[in-house]
């Protein structure tokens, strides 16, 4: 992966190249060994490109190769490896390069503006809706239904930003307190500045191989044993936002494939999508890693710390490392990979781990994408 920063000099193509090159190098492979390339990148509106996938293909290693771009909003980052998985599992490809790239900085005056166009053109855009509204509305609902305080939620931001101090590519690592979060500038109540992850530029890539080749290429392959994805109805105002049903469905799809019946016990740690701090709690529950309304308690008790029983976001998550949408999801997959191989350096979780999960989320509170990996 590349560094994640608010604005980088490199173009999207160049970032995709850096990440793809690094992935190939670490696998000891060359581009000629790659059978197909899958790229993920979120809205074209950020970059100001139409058919962004075509523009990026050379950087991603897709030159004169079978190449496809997949796109499920914020869920893209974890969806790219899923698409790459079916390329390999179908038997059509043995080695697939999966790249997540995002360049949000080109949009002026602020990348935030592009999110206005994700809303319904008749019923929502005329109200001047911003992406922050929908998060704030969901956060409030979650807090109301399960009686969760802003302090509980702030603990997640504190944890993740601290975890990010040990991530070499991180954009906003910091040692902050709950008080810092509560006092930070209100953006869209109850969302405050330190509750939100930044917009970023960055890219990340992973290489997938079929079983036979994997064993030849490395002594410690990490297997993808479960994949799941699910999109809920467009009508987000008709859903109770306190619980992500679509994520539970995506998780169950993955758990079924991986033969997991008790996720809380069978998943050792997870990289859960945290564009906002409350989202980590919301998603933990959707993933059935905590009961409904129970995630804040687990966080308070330190269960989700790196030395806890169920480490969540040991990488530092989006809050700490940054949020170049599609790349962030791939970053999470990469983190699970490194953790399972014991290669996460200072971020390595204390307990021995055999099975991890990476999850991303996106759209109008709609998409859940889940990947389960094991040694």
């Amino acid at each position: 992966m590349t560094l994640f920063r608010h604005r980088m000099l490199e173009t999207g193509k160049e970032m995709a190249f850096e990440a793809a090159r690094m992935a190939l190098d670490s696998a000891g492979l060359e581009r000629k060994d790659v059978d197909a390339v899958v790229l993920g990148s979120a809205p074209d509106a950020f970059d100001g490109f139409h058919m962004k996938g075509e523009q990026l293909l050379d950087g991603a290693g897709g030159f004169r190769k079978p190449y496809t771009r997949v796109f499920v909003g914020g869920g893209t980052g974890v969806f790219v490896p899923i698409a790459a998985w079916w390329h390999v599992a179908s038997g059509l490809a043995d080695i697939v390069l999966a790249v997540g790239e995002e360049k949000m900085s080109p949009l002026q005056p602020h990348p935030q503006y592009a999110f206005w166009t994700i809303f319904d053109q008749f019923l929502e855009r005329p109200l001047g809706v911003t992406l922050l509204w929908i998060f704030a509305l969901e956060m409030r609902r979650y807090m109301h239904v399960y009686n969760v305080s802003e302090e509980d939620i702030a603990l997640v931001a504190v944890k993740n930003k601290a975890n990010a101090l040990d991530h070499p590519a991180a954009q906003l690592p910091a040692r902050i307190t709950v008080e810092d979060v509560l006092k930070s500038e209100p953006i869209c109540a109850p969302v405050k500045r330190l509750d939100v992850s930044p917009t970023s530029d960055g890219a990340a890539a992973v290489v997938l191989a079929s079983e036979e080749l994997a064993r030849k290429l490395t002594d410690t392959p990490v297997w993808i044993t479960g994949v799941g994805w699910n999109v809920d109805t467009t009508y987000w105002t008709n859903r109770d936002l306190c619980y992500p049903e679509y994520l539970e469905k995506a998780a169950r799809m993955a758990y079924k494939m991986a033969h997991i019946t008790n996720p809380r016990k069978e998943i050792d740690f997870a990289e859960v999508y945290d564009p906002f701090d409350y989202k980590e709690l919301h998603h933990m529950e959707g993933l059935l890693l905590a009961g409904k309304g129970e995630a804040p308690k687990l966080t308070r008790e330190g269960v989700t710390q790196r030395d806890g029983d169920l480490p969540i976001n040991p990488s530092g998550g989006l809050l700490g490392v940054g949020n170049p949408i599609a790349a962030a999801g791939v970053m999470k997959v990469a983190e699970v990979f490194w953790q399972l191989r014991g290669e996460a350096g200072k971020r390595q979780v204390k307990k021995p781990v055999n099975r991890g999960l990476a999850q991303a989320w996106g759209d109008l509170m709609q998409v859940g994408t889940v990947v389960i990996m094991e040694r």
Binding site: K13, E54, V70, V72, L92
Partner: protein, 378 residues
Amino acid sequence: MTLSKQVALVSMGYSGFSTVTPQLSFKEMMFEAANMAYAQVGIDPRAEVDSFICCEEDLLEGISITDEYMPDQLGGAQRALCTISQDGLNGVVQGYMQITSGIADLVVVESHVKFSNVLSKRDVHSLAMDPYLERPFLDDGIPLAALEMRRYMHENGVSEESVAEVVVKNKRNGLKNPRSSYSARLTLDEVMRSEELWSPLRRSYVAQPADACVVAVLASYAKARSITDYPIWIEGVGWFSESSWIGLRDFSRALYAEGASKMAYKMAKIDNPSKAFDFVEIDDSIAFKELQHLEALGIYPQGKAAEATLKGETKEDGSMPVNPSGGSLSLGNLAETTGLARLLEAFETLKKKDYSKALVQSWRGIPTSTATVVVLGV
């Protein structure tokens, strides 16, 4: 079950196929097309479909993160749905892989376009170019097609008459196709007197925009056998991209189509493509491309497609029917829906006549060099 019969195309539905569709929003168009496809094989998408794949580009929708607006009208709410930014035919390839990977038995692939709603077509298309090196010269991409056409004609000794003949043939083929918006009975002369946009490209050589939605249902062998008596087998798939850098391409041939077809032919065990197919539905969104694609796909040797066209071999009643549907020149330029629209034509034609094998190829259009190929067998 043999390798060539792992995945079948069991039904297809459509809506629109006209220059404007004011009575239906894109969601309603999708609902109509999906219902048609599901009714043909009596399936309930809520209970039976494992995965939905939508093929669109944000900037042609005027919506960012298009997949947000896809689930409900396909029956995909709270189901495994995704969007790919690729041609609809590539969606079929992704669906094929989902089925052969074992994760799905029934997959729905959809694509739609409402060009009539895109007022800033020119600007949208110009945004597909590199901003520093290409956009200042290549406007909305049409000049690029002209540059390529000239080089192709020069290297292969192709006359303008043969390009114009493609237009005459396809527009005439479209006359009996109810889905065609732009069919016409034209003479060679009329076609060649059409306004020159960027020499040597004339207005008549470029397919005009239209609105449409097409839905395809793919099934695994066992599922296909249980829901239809007439599955069309997907015997081979391939897809390939050259480069986004225009300067790196070889304009004399469509390398991207060649690459895609090699992969598909290998899978479908086709040694001699010039003899293997009863008909082919290939991209003709810019008339000279039909000739270039025929050669890249191995239907004719390099430089020989023009001659064959002038001789009438590629007519509907010729020895190698090419685009009997009327192609994009008749159906209209349907952006990412083009591949599925052609698949629909091939699907219907294979069932109607005593044919056994067809080739469908799509190209993503200017300024891309990306193609997908599917081999269908009865």
